[in-house]
Symmetry: C2
């Protein structure tokens, strides 16, 4: 077990802890990081089926009161309806300021659990227990929370840093293959932001990673979380460097939105969004065909899509108008000239529309 | 016009500005304090009827895009249903990070508007335009936001400091008398926390204040907001001194809850809650009969109730179990030995129940 990564945020600093063990080791870690008080455990039906009993017993054995709230899996649960129901359910029993929300799952559970914690009694602790590659490598670190509204993804949410992030790599064995591959999209993004060494590692270890070899996956999620920890410590609220983490997300979000959140996973949309960002970047003078080909090869080796679905120009451009990354008449893209050399570039929305209409 | 009071919170410091003028002066002040961007104006039907047209025209005249969202007046609007509707309504048009929520109204609009702003795009600015004595003297200052759930008041919410607070004393002329009196309860609370001079001022100026004389009301709300600004600057998140501001609120909230949020105003409930806190305090060795009588006289002069409604023991104690001020088996009360000499005292819930059952 390697040493924790720390997200250095002064008196709100917190560790990202890798946990290769079973539910008992997770319960021990939760018990250690959470303040005394009840645990409000949020998870989805899949994670609950795989780990609910074992985790529940292990928390009981430590004398931890835990109230479980189980939601349907999938992006559809990041909804106003679900958070409304959770608010009522959670307060059907007394909640105290020292209680802790424990979000056990992937990005959906983490985003929803973080938002829930940030709004209970004006903010209580949340411990993120990440069970997917996506959550371990990206979503669980950094304090972004959110739910979706009809107009778009994560438009409602807060910043609420967790008390700790537990990367439960021991749970990856039960993760469906497609989910595992999807999560690697965020690892590829991190590598592209980090530098040549990280990109080369992905090229060398693509087979091991794609087959889910534990050592390779652990290395990948720790590399990615480590990069994110550094960026978040420098720019908690996304005023500067943190915006780099949106690489692939501008058009990735559009793909998710246009396809109804479900037929494409978040990671699949980000993978294709990254390729599109490299394409648009090239059209505007950033990067090379070689860089694009390297990224496409890496993504393809992880069984990730590299070409967009068939959408109309209107489907592409509608969601951009309400994107959080929009400022005035421009929208922010992340373009890369080389591994480790990426930057945030505002692009006039008319230019994006023009480029997309030639692509459609 | 007196100089602004500043809430000193480092790079998030903000002014509390008294505005005795008309809608034009309010629009000018909003235009000055809000960043460039659209205004998402939240108000209630009463305020809208009295000031909506004038304020809308004045903002238009300054070239400010304003989208209005008008909610029914009253505590019932601080609901999951209303915030859900607002999230959908607000995002029916694009929202940008530089946009500002402008909450024009009393405590309900301010709490809801603050919560809305804190959850749009993970937090955008809010300007609080307080039109009631309650909001000017207390609610609009300090960044507490919230909505109610069936289990209790403000159980869902966030801390989200405003960009500025405008005390629109010019709007008080249209405020119903009962609302004006209710708001003075928070002023009395502040005076009791502040010291002898402030309590004596209320005794001397009770008639002017009760009749709504502008100079007296302005003095009162500035005294109260000034005290709150100091306390919030010292203890933003209510870990220490800020808990003193809960004077009268522990049992006040119970009265509001048990009577269904409506038949008693918040201020009326706090007034009676203060008297009850002085009673319970005396029973536990804090304060004197003389202090209680002074406070009762001051409240009565403001036409505020000083005796509780008829409730069962169960009605009194049920809401205490889910109170945010509960820690373990105790609940925090604020007891006063003398003006300016108050303290937070945890009282075992069994003792509160025992005391209440003798009172019932």
């Amino acid at each position: 077990v390697s040493a924790p990564i720390w997200v250095e945020l002064g008196d709100r600093r917190y560790p990202v802890i890798g946990l290769p063990g079973d539910a008992g080791s997770v319960a021990a870690s939760i018990d250690e990081v959470a303040r005394p008080g009840s645990l409000i455990v949020l998870t989805d039906e899949n994670v609950h089926a795989a780990h609910g009993d074992a985790l529940s017993r292990a928390l009981d054995a430590r004398g931890r009161t835990a109230r479980w709230h189980v939601i349907p899996p999938g992006e559809g649960s990041k909804s106003v309806t679900t958070i409304s129901r959770l608010w009522e359910e959670v307060f059907s029993e007394p909640v105290q300021r020292t209680d802790t929300v424990v979000a056990v799952g992937g990005g959906v559970v983490g985003d929803l659990g973080g938002f829930l914690a940030s709004t209970l009694l004006r903010g209580i602790d949340v411990v993120q227990v990440a069970t997917t590659v996506l959550a371990m490598s990206d979503a669980a670190v950094g304090g972004k929370t959110g739910i979706n509204v009809p107009a778009g993804k994560n438009l409602v949410g807060t910043f609420h840093q967790p008390r700790a992030v537990l990367q439960w790599t021991g749970a990856l064995a039960t993760l469906p293959e497609r989910e595992r591959h999807s999560g690697v999209a965020e690892v590829v993004k991190s590598a592209l932001l980090a530098g040549e060494e990280e990109v080369a590692w992905l090229e060398t270890n693509g087979v091991a990673l794609a087959s889910g070899e534990p050592a390779a996956v652990t290395h990948a999620v720790q590399m990615s979380a480590g990069l994110k920890a550094k960026i978040v410590a420098d720019d908690e609220r996304e005023g500067g460097a943190r915006r780099l983490l949106n690489l692939g997300h501008t058009l990735g979000h559009v793909i998710e939105h246009a396809t109804g959140y479900g037929s494409w996973t978040h990671g699949e949309a980000v993978a294709t969004g990254m390729v599109l960002a490299l394409d648009l970047g090239q059209a505007r003078g950033f990067g090379t065909p070689e860089l694009r080909e390297r990224v496409v090869s890496i993504l393809a080796a992880q069984k990730l899509p590299v070409a967009p679905p068939s959408l109309t120009v209107g489907q592409w451009t509608g969601p951009l108008a309400v994107d959080k990354k929009r400022t005035g008449d421009s929208i922010q893209f992340v373009f890369c000239s080389a591994p480790g050399n990426c930057q945030v570039v505002p692009v006039p929305i008319v230019d994006v529309v023009d480029w997309l209409s030639r692509m459609c």
